[in-house]
């Protein structure tokens, strides 16, 4: 034990190591051409908050291991645990998870991790969720949690702005439509960035910008809790615009990913 550890405040002294849980694949569901949801049986899962993530560890026959982080897609109130993974072409772990895994396969995961980019109905709102690509995954856990919370969930106004490459790349498209169409459901606005909008398209067709956020979001006076998740350039741009529109930087929580050439 080092001097550092010996002088921990007492609240931390009881900290227990986060264990590696064994996960068994129940089902792999294709979401879009590049993403899949893994439904997992994790017998000892301790529960999580919407927005948290897990570390996944795969082990090859020769003992080689690779770890990566993935957001949890399932809400706290529903088992089994689900992760939605985007397959990166030059990735080491994501091609296995999103393309190779099949029922009965086993690997390890550790979590839940991250208590900052997390939301519960009890935290209140309004709730503004801004996602790019597979950045929708932790936001979807929040929306599912809100939908599973009945009256208390509906009492929190929620709006969602999602940026995807094309209509076919919109993850959870039908479920989002269903969530948005019920009374008290979240307002959901899509934008696509790499394809000409198809006939009948009701969303935007450009990168997220100030007019879009002003239109699809809440006024800064409503002091929404804002969660932004996606690729770094999209998150940088959206967060910068939100602050410029007058949202308090402390109310804007971000999670950036890739491109890391890894996943």
């Amino acid at each position: 034990m080092t001097a550092t550890e010996a002088s921990l405040p007492s609240a931390r002294a009881g900290a227990r190591r986060l264990p590696w849980w064994q996960a068994e694949v129940v089902e792999r569901v294709a979401e879009t051409p590049r993403t899949a949801t893994l439904v997992l049986h994790v017998p000892d899962w301790p529960g999580h908050r919407a927005g948290q993530h897990v570390d996944v560890r795969l082990t090859a026959d020769d003992g080689y291991q690779a770890q990566r982080s993935y957001s949890i897609a399932s809400p706290p109130e529903a088992l089994p645990l689900a992760l939605t993974v985007e397959r990166l072409e030059d990735g080491e772990v994501s091609p296995w998870l999103a393309g190779e895994a099949r029922p009965g396969d086993r690997f390890e995961l550790r979590g839940p991790i991250g208590g900052y980019f997390a939301w519960s109905v009890a935290d209140g709102g309004p709730l503004l969720l801004v996602g790019g690509g597979s950045g929708v995954v932790p936001l979807m856990a929040m929306l599912r949690h809100r939908a599973a919370s009945g009256e208390a969930g509906r009492a929190v106004p929620a709006r969602v702005l999602l940026s995807s490459r094309s209509v076919a790349d919109i993850i959870y498209r039908e479920e989002l439509e269903r969530l948005g169409s019920v009374l008290g459901g979240p307002g959901i606005v899509h934008t696509i960035t790499r394809e000409r909008p198809p006939p009948g398209w009701h969303g935007y067709a450009r990168r997220i910008d100030a007019p879009m956020l002003a239109d699809a979001g809440f006024s800064p006076a409503a002091a929404p809790r804002v969660f932004v998740c996606g690729p770094t350039p999209m998150v940088e741009a959206a967060a910068e615009v939100l602050v410029r529109l007058g949202h308090a930087p402390g109310r804007v929580k971000t999670e950036r990913f890739g491109p890391t050439g890894g996943g």
Binding site: L58, F107, P259
Partner: protein, 203 residues
């Protein structure tokens, strides 16, 4: 340990194994991880303060900071989100030189909290910052830091996980007792040694 059917992983080079801590993988680009919007402080309003508890030990404007001895280091960096980047080149002022510039022969307390624009904090034992191990860096790869990488200045403590290398640093505060900073209060390890894979509380 369970093995995963059908997973082989990437080819591994021996030299990588010696330089890449357990659970990490190598990348070539430079990902950005921040908990909130990127703060933007203009250089004419920027200062760096050195504090012992509540009392001020030294304070430098951007111009004054540039006039301090500048040190270049080439180091490997390791992010708790699993990526490592080898041979990164940084330039800035060592904590040793900052202490000297403040007229101090030795640090006033054994722990330090870095305070940043945007409210981020992280704690580091002072011995991990001395002897050239810690820097307040203003340049990466020969260029001024990019805003999303911590401009104008970030702490650099490359032998610990990279969340300790706090971006947008403005204030270094010495403490008698160790206290958890931002991520350290949210389940991440109080010290964060990548070679002992101290990612989370209790590791």
């Amino acid at each position: 340990m369970i093995t995963t059917r059908g997973f082989t992983g990437r080819p591994r080079a021996r030299e990588d194994r010696e330089r890449v801590p357990p659970g990490q993988y190598l990348i070539e680009d430079f990902p950005v991880l921040s908990a909130g919007p990127t703060p933007r402080t203009s250089l004419d309003r920027w200062t760096l303060a050195l504090q012992d508890g509540g009392s001020l030990l030294g304070k430098w404007t951007w111009e004054e900071f540039q006039a301090l001895p500048q040190t270049e280091v080439t180091v490997d960096i390791h992010c708790v989100t699993k990526w490592s980047k080898l041979g990164t080149v940084w330039e800035g002022v060592t904590i040793d030189d900052l202490l000297e510039a403040a007229g101090l022969d030795e640090p006033p307390a054994p722990y330090l909290m870095a305070h940043c624009d945007g409210g981020y904090t992280t704690n580091v034992p002072v011995e991990d910052l001395l002897g050239g191990k810690g820097l307040v860096a203003t340049r990466f790869d020969g260029e001024p830091l990019a805003p999303e990488h911590g401009a104008p200045a970030r702490l650099l403590v490359p032998h610990l996980y990279f969340w300790k290398s706090a971006k947008w640093v403005r204030r270094l505060r010495f403490m008698e007792q160790d206290e958890p900073g931002f991520w350290e209060s949210l389940g991440y390890h109080i010290y964060g040694d990548p070679w002992r894979e101290q990612r989370y509380d209790g590791d």
